[in-house]
Amino acid sequence: MKSKSRRPDRRGFMKTALSVGAAMMAPEVIPGSALGKDGAVAPSQRITVGGIGIGNRGTYDLGCFLEQADVQFLAVCDIKETRRTAVKKIADQKYGNSDCDTYRDFHELLARDDIDAVLIATGPNWHATAAMYAARAGKDMYCEKPCTKNIAQSLILKETMQRTGRIFQAGTQRRNLPHFAFACELARTGKLGKLKAVHAHPAGMKTMMSGWMTPEPEPPKEQIDWDRYLGPAAWRPFNRAHLDGFNFEKGGGMTGGGVLEWGSHCVDLCQWAVGADDVVPVEYNPPKDGRLVARYENGVELIIRETGWLPLGSCPVRFEGEDGWVEAGDSGKMVLSSPALLAGRKVEEIGGYPATFHVRDFLDCVKTRSQPKGNAVAACYAHIACHAAGIAIALNRTLKYDRHKNEFIGDEQANRLRSEALREPWRI
């Protein structure tokens, strides 16, 4: 499906601009202050972006992209007609035209050679699969979290981004929020003393699965493409209740749940605080009294707990060392064991949101090919830690993990839960 609103002349201009550029001069690289942060950027020098699955969260992300002068949003793909139309309206209003193209099939969007990068904000069911197709199509991507449904997908994500040379930014925007970054740096650089424990808030401690609900009449494909919505998830009949993409088949429909939902943020920050972007805990215990304790090889505990947090907003984390501690949450506030840790700064001046910083980081890296904060390696291992914790919850037993072989030690059932077949014809 393809909308008829596209104007070939503008797209043609973009193509012409690119091909002329290729023939006559070296590619544009715009470092430093000219990275699009200041003033207008010529259309030929903008990063062209397409959107895949832009719902509530995606619309927020899209707003962050549209704020950037060096971004040109060209097209949207969604299996829901209402969302395609809504996103097109936002983009067209922004640019004062009617050029934003709409697609139901993301292959068509990915086939466009005038699109540099994609924003993937589908439900979690699709994140990893869409990311892999985008990478193989040569697109850089900003991909919402949770990015993967299991351990195998996490590793394949990392390997695919390396193999294809893509810039991948997970939607872990807290990595680019100054107060979370500050708290992580305190832990990572030893200012809290020898690190003892890092604490992450989950969105619940249960494992969830989406089942097979009572069949309902399937709407026309043009309105809701059910086959595409299911995508890599095992087949089941249409039921409108499944259309809440936020929860549908999160974490492979077997072990995903609360730890993965917020863990992809909070555990990710803990990994950063430990300085372990390419490492994961090697032991996972099932929850007891609302606390799941995992351990890194160096003895630092990763404590995933639901209660006992200071009132600092959602997604809080806490880092404890022998000489001090810090706790931070979405309110943009931090509480520290001593004001000396602030080194003369004020919590208010360090600041928190907006998530635009994270989008900006991605765009800068598209141009310089540096690795953004939420890169594929960091996302891979943070997600593995969440999945492993989810498997410990599902099996209700302590699991030992060999982080070199990426397998559980002496537990075949746990190892079987590291991956799950995708529905035909999808592959990662």
Partner: protein
């Protein structure tokens, strides 16, 4: 019995968002075998698709080769094939491989593609011939899937087949063949056979395939050659094609070795300033000391952009040879350059950097002196004597910088100097800087009690304005002495000091302020300070870790002390936040207060609901007229207008023996598996029976579900 179990299993997993608890402990082989047998029986039965689907899910954990025959039968079933493959992909038995291989000959279209994909995931080396036969399939998607699966298998036989196919494949399959070849080459490279890998990458690079495959093969060809790949790397960095240029930049960060570093560094002389800036970032990311001379040279470039880029990465190289240049640049008239140099100097590692900075301190003047003092503060260099000398400098900026640096570096024995400067500055303009410095120094003093004692002593002799300042600093320092000093000030007669002291105590960051705050809440004359103190006390009860009994006792005391409903409600919120039997007792006690009865009853029910069906809970609720009830949900609908969904099952699951129902999520849309009417305010309508009496109630979206007891 068996049918009953099946029903329970299905009921457990059929609804969206149900808890998946499929194993509770390590199971012995017999138990697993029994489970498998029952699951296989489901597949062999005429059970509905939903049950077979979930059986497949469980067989992924419990299945063995014995399950393969029944699973194989489902591979031709459009609805259940994907479920069957979930099990077949996971079962570590040769029978699973055989089932998938055998299915290749029987299937076509999407089902065949799915089966081939699963063979690839399992890396079944026995399937090479089967897949090779499918490379020429008339369905290009099937042939492509076979090519990629062969790539995942990646053994010698699969590699040979794919290399041959790269030349012979049709246009619409060749890119997938190339993808398979790249996977094979990667496997060879990782196994140490770089030369063989490079050959395959080169074959892909010269094939007529999609551009992304060319890009990937180029990266592989560079990495597989190691240092011999440097010329190809430089070719990409010089490419006018953005895609190849980009893969050059990213591969330049991956290819190890001095040769690569030096070749990239040499490129700095051949490119414009924009490209040089990016290459400097590449050199920084490589973390190779061999790049240091080139980066240092770039720091002295005539191009401002290159200089800034170079300074941005210089901190990664522990090279203090750059310090003189950076010190010079840090006072450049160009503010952007100066700031970049200063930022680099602050982060620069190397033992001689501090010495180089302090060495110039005695002879420096003007901008240079200011910059050096700022660096001393930022790098935490011990240079107290020189800084104290600068406190009397004629330039106010120098004095302010010296104060700030002392705040960051002065040892405890110099605290008196900062107290004197803060309370009685020689230059009036220095007061704000001196006060900030005193606070910065005070909060990092290792002996907190001694520091607080010195500040408290100064308090006695200070002017009223300075008393406020010192109280605020004592609040930041904290500890026993500071707490005692603030408590005394809060009990005193000076309203301004009471105001400051109660403010600092109200934000105290440890529970030892509890008794002080409670005492103030009870005994202070002014209501505003009573309220502030009590709220501070309640905050301690809410924010800090303590046993349920301790928290409940604090809440109990707060309720006894509170004069206003606002504070009483805050206490009830704390009790709800940390549900415990001790807390429930406090809430039940609060229901005796007529004014608080309704709110306290609600809190008691919320706490009881969160605690589940503990015996103590029921007794306590009976005390307030809420004995356990028999609750039956007749029907429940959620939505707006004609867009409503039946949520009877969800509500029945959450209902217990209380009229209060707590859903798994406070958000109704989440709890009920989706939003039936997006963008519209919705209602929950419940028909129910309590102890046999029928009732009906309607609740606003996300409201508390407390069912009125029918009369």
């Amino acid at each position: 019995m068996f049918k009953t179990r099946l029903f329970i299993l299905f009921a457990l997993v059929a609804a969206m968002g149900m808890v998946a608890a499929f194993a509770t402990a390590a199971e012995d082989a017999q138990t697993v075998a029994e489970k498998e047998a029952k699951l296989i029986a489901v597949l062999a039965s005429d059970a509905p698709g939903a049950q077979k689907a979930i059986a497949c899910k469980e067989l992924a954990i419990y299945g063995s080769g014995k399950a393969a025959p029944e699973l194989a039968k489902l591979l031709a079933n459009e609805q259940l094939a994907s479920w069957a493959r979930i099990a077949l992909e996971a079962i570590p038995a040769p029978e699973a491989d055989a089932a998938l291989r055998d299915a290749v000959a029987k299937l076509d279209g999407r089902l065949l593609i799915g089966t081939i994909n699963s063979i690839g995931v399992r890396r079944d080396t026995k399937a090479v011939d089967v897949l090779a036969g499918r490379l020429a399939d008339k369905n290009a998607d099937v042939a492509s899937a076979a090519a990629v699966a062969l790539g995942h298998i990646g053994d010698a036989a699969a590699t040979k087949v794919l290399r041959a196919a790269l030349a012979s494949a049709s246009d619409d399959v060749r890119s997938a063949v190339a993808e398979g070849c790249i996977l094979c080459a990667e496997k060879l490279m990782n196994a140490g056979s770089g030369k063989d890998a490079a050959k395959i990458y080169d074959e892909v690079r010269t094939a007529k395939v999609a551009k992304p495959r060319l890009i990937e093969a180029t990266r592989g060809a560079i990495l597989a050659r190691k240092s011999a790949g440097v010329p190809l790397l430089i070719e990409q960095i010089r490419s006018p094609d953005k895609a190849f240029y980009y893969i050059g930049l990213s591969t330049a960060r991956e290819l190890p070795g001095r040769e690569a570093t030096e070749a990239i560094a040499a490129e700095l002389a051949n490119v414009g300033e924009d490209h040089a800036a990016v290459l400097l970032m590449v050199l920084g990311d490589r973390n190779d000391p061999a790049a240091a001379p080139a980066v240092l040279k770039a720091v002295k470039s005539n191009s401002k952009r290159i200089r800034i880029a170079a300074m941005g990465v210089l901190g990664k190289f522990a090279d203090d040879a750059s310090v003189p240049t950076l010190l010079e640049t840090a006072v450049d008239d160009d503010a952007e350059l100066a700031q970049a140099a200063k930022a680099t100097l602050i982060g620069l590692k190397g033992g001689k950097v501090d010495a180089a900075i302090t060495a110039d301190l005695t002879k420096a003047e003007g901008k240079s002196l200011l910059m050096l003092i700022e660096l001393i503060g930022a790098r935490r260099i011990e240079a107290t004597a020189a800084l104290i000398k600068s406190l009397d400098h004629e330039d106010a900026n120098i004095r302010a910088a010296a104060l700030a640096a002392l705040g960051e570096t002065a040892a405890q024995k110099y605290l008196g100097v900062l107290i004197a400067r803060a309370l009685d500055p020689k230059h009036g303009d220095d007061a704000p800087a001196a006060q900030r410095a005193l606070k910065a120094a005070a909060v990092r003093m290792p002996d907190r009690e001694s520091c607080a004692a010195e500040l408290s002593a100064a308090l006695a002799k200070a002017s009223p304005a300075n008393k406020t300042l010192l109280l605020e600093i004592l609040g930041a320092v904290a500890g026993e002495k500071a707490l005692a000093t603030l408590a005394a000030a809060a009990r005193g007669d000076d309203d301004a000091l009471k105001d400051t002291a109660t403010r600092m105590l109200g934000a105290w960051m440890s529970v030892d302020a509890g008794p002080v705050l409670l005492n103030l809440a009870k005994n202070t004359k002014e209501e505003k300070y009573q309220i502030r103190a009590l709220r501070g006390y309640i905050r301690l009860a809410r924010q800090f870790a303590k046993t349920p009994a301790q928290r409940a006792e604090m809440c109990n005391r707060a309720l006894d002390t509170a004069q206003r409903d606002d504070e009483r409600e805050l206490v009830l919120q704390v009790l709800e936040l940390y549900p415990s039997i001790d807390g429930l007792k406090v809430a039940v006690k609060a229901t005796k207060n007529d004014k608080l009865k309704a709110e306290a009853t609600k809190s008691a029910l919320v706490i009881a609901q969160k605690l589940g069906g503990k015996a103590d809970t029921k007794e306590l609720l009976a005390e307030i007229g809420h004995a356990a009830v028999k609750l039956e949900i007749v029907k429940a609908e959620y939505g707006a207008g004609d867009r409503k969904k039946d949520v009877t099952a969800e509500l029945r699951k959450a209902a217990r023996d209380l009229p209060l129902i707590s859903l798994p999520s406070d958000n109704f849309n989440s709890a009920f598996g989706g939003d039936p009417a997006p963008g519209v305010q919705k209602q929950l309508r419940v028909q129910y029976k309590i102890n046999g009496a029928a009732g009906e109630a309607t609740f606003a979206e996300n409201a508390m579900i407390l069912l009125p007891v029918p009369k």
